[in-house]
Amino acid sequence: MTAESTTPPREPDAFEQAMDRRPVKGRSLWVDAWHRLKRNKAALAGAGLLVVIVVMVTIGPMLNPWDHEIPDWDHYSTPPSLETGHLMGTDALGRDLFERVMVGGRISLLVGLVATLVSLFIGVLYGATAGYLGGRVDNWMMRAVDAIYALPFMFFVILLMVVFGRNIFLIFVAIGAVNWLDMARIVRGQTLSLKNKAFIEAARASGATERQVIVRHIIPNLLGVVAVYVSLTIPQVILVESFLSFLGLGVQEPLTSWGALVNEGAQELETAPWSLLFPAAFLAATLFAFNFLGDGLRDALDPRDR
């Protein structure tokens, strides 16, 4: 077999022959992961639920006749009813709860997404640099991370709010600025282990520059882990924002978020239970969905499966 397979001419005709037979399509790790993910019912359900929620909060307010600021003077604290047109009822000020849950959802999801992107950006850059350079640089960079970790997070956010006033933009920054620490640690760990992989050495041996090694080999191989981590960070950030809003430090009236709505609802628990039920249900469903999806992604992308 070796005799037969290694004697053909080396010249271009080898390629021409090859082109007569169309190259077989390969199955990349991403495709593989997708096939595994498809078999994971919980993850798929999570993904489906997320799509539904995102679509709802995006187009829901456009179809809904009510405004999230202007009260319906005829209906204060009314339960959900088709008759009144308030699908989820109204709050104590007579504002349509459906509208407010949708608008709140936009804010919550946006905070989750943007803060995660901020932490992704800083974390990947920082972690990959520390991991790849290694040695003393890595040591100092990670000690810095440890030091920031030691700051009480809530205190830090509250301080920011007090000093700079409350605005949504600041919430994004505050949460992202703290959340990147985890991302940096994870990316650094992954980079460290990738750096010692034989294929990285192989790339260096075949003449790749440091930059090429990072761009072609390190980053594409980090994506799997990062994808998993992103899907688990988003719900975490949403939760943090909810907590801040619950404390009254988050978004300000008349804007709202799920956390703020839960806060309001909790105060009217006895008189208007629906005003707690709906935002809480949406919040919980979103968190579940992200976590299921994240777990599914982790299983699907985990190279140990191979």
Binding site: M1, T2, H35, R36, R39, D305
Partner: protein
């Protein structure tokens, strides 16, 4: 009665890619005190055979058929019964000795635990017995080793300790899965010498799983050559090495370069790759790589006896001619 009677052992695994057929209808007997070598390449099912006998298959694995040990059926035993037999009657040593030992317990604790647990010995006598066992496997300064932890010892030392642990309860059967593969050549030969001595001195039967034909030649009485989860050939060690009857056994023997033979310049490689265990080919599984395959090989051959207590799974009537001598001529 044979010590171990394996009949029609089949092991499958459910994986996302389909059902993996790791072992397909394996049967063999092992007499007390005998050493059986199971040879094959990775994916031939040799390790899964051992794990199935020990009841240690991974969660997605299923074993069917029958494994009788002193007449008692091992498959389908409850976990507690399995645990009782494992460690006292049958023990197993693994390829990677360092990770097979508990890193958080001293060597002494681990050895003593085996005895207090399986033999109901008091700590004092158990300790004495453990030290004696360490001496037997040629560990210097056993008292000091008893206080050490696995990471403080070399791979060779850990494998000796695994062997000591395996033999502590004087089992009737020791299953050794590639016990020297992870070790250096010189340490390998120390361990092999040790295993040879122990099998001579004690009445423990050994199932030795390996890909190294040299180790088999040195230690085993009987050899079972596996391919794609099936026995290709089974015979006493001498006739099998002198005159392999199955093309696969022959191929294995000829594909290794040897220090004790004149070098002919080119190795006789077995062409191609092992089959996919998810979708096994019909007919003889070795057919695609076999130089002697002919029309009949599209049928599945049976394991049939020939000569004096030799078995082969092949339609060839005559022995395959050794290729190396042809090429030299």
């Amino acid at each position: 009665m044979a010590l171990l009677e394996v009949r029609d052992l089949t092991v499958t695994f459910d994986t996302p890619d389909g059902v993996v057929h790791a072992v397909n209808g394996l049967s063999f007997d092992l007499e007390p005190g005998q050493t059986l070598g199971i040879v094959g390449e990775s994916g031939s099912g040799k390790t899964q055979t051992a794990l199935a006998m020990m009841g240690l298959l991974a969660e997605n694995g299923r074993a069917s058929g029958s494994v009788r040990f002193r007449g008692q059926e091992l498959l389908g035993l409850s976990t507690s019964e399995q645990t009782r037999i494992r460690g006292s009657k049958i023990s197993m040593i693994f390829q990677d000795p360092v990770s097979a030992l508990n890193p958080y317990m001293s060597i002494g604790e681990q050895l003593i635990e085996v005895l207090t647990h399986h033999r109901n010995l008091k700590r004092g006598p158990a300790r004495a017995r453990a030290i004696e066992m360490l001496r037997q496997v040629r560990i210097s300064d056993p008292e000091r080793r008893m206080r050490q932890y696995p990471h403080q010892l070399s791979g060779g030392m850990c494998q000796r300790i695994m062997i000591a642990m395996g033999l502590l309860c004087q089992p009737d059967l020791l299953i050794a899965d590639e016990p020297t593969t992870a070790l250096d050549v010189t340490v390998q030969s120390q361990i092999n010498l040790l295993m040879g001595e122990l099998s001579e001195k004690s009445s423990t039967a050994i199932v030795l799983i390996t890909h190294d034909l040299g180790v088999v030649a040195g230690l085993c009485d009987k050899v079972l050559v596996m391919y794609a989860g099936e026995v290709m050939e089974m015979a006493d060690v001498e006739p099998l090495f002198a005159d392999p009857a199955h093309p696969y056994s022959q191929g294995l023997l000829e594909s290794v370069p040897r220090l004790d033979r004149e070098d002919s310049g080119i190795l006789r490689a077995i062409p191609g790759n092992p089959p996919d265990l998810v979708s096994l080919p019909t007919g003889c599984p070795f057919r695609a790589r076999c130089d002697y395959a002919f029309d009949a090989c599209t049928e599945h051959p049976k394991l049939e006896p020939f000569d004096d207590d030799r078995w082969k799974r092949c339609f060839l009537e005559s022995r395959p001619m050794p290729k190396s001598s042809e090429e030299n001529a």
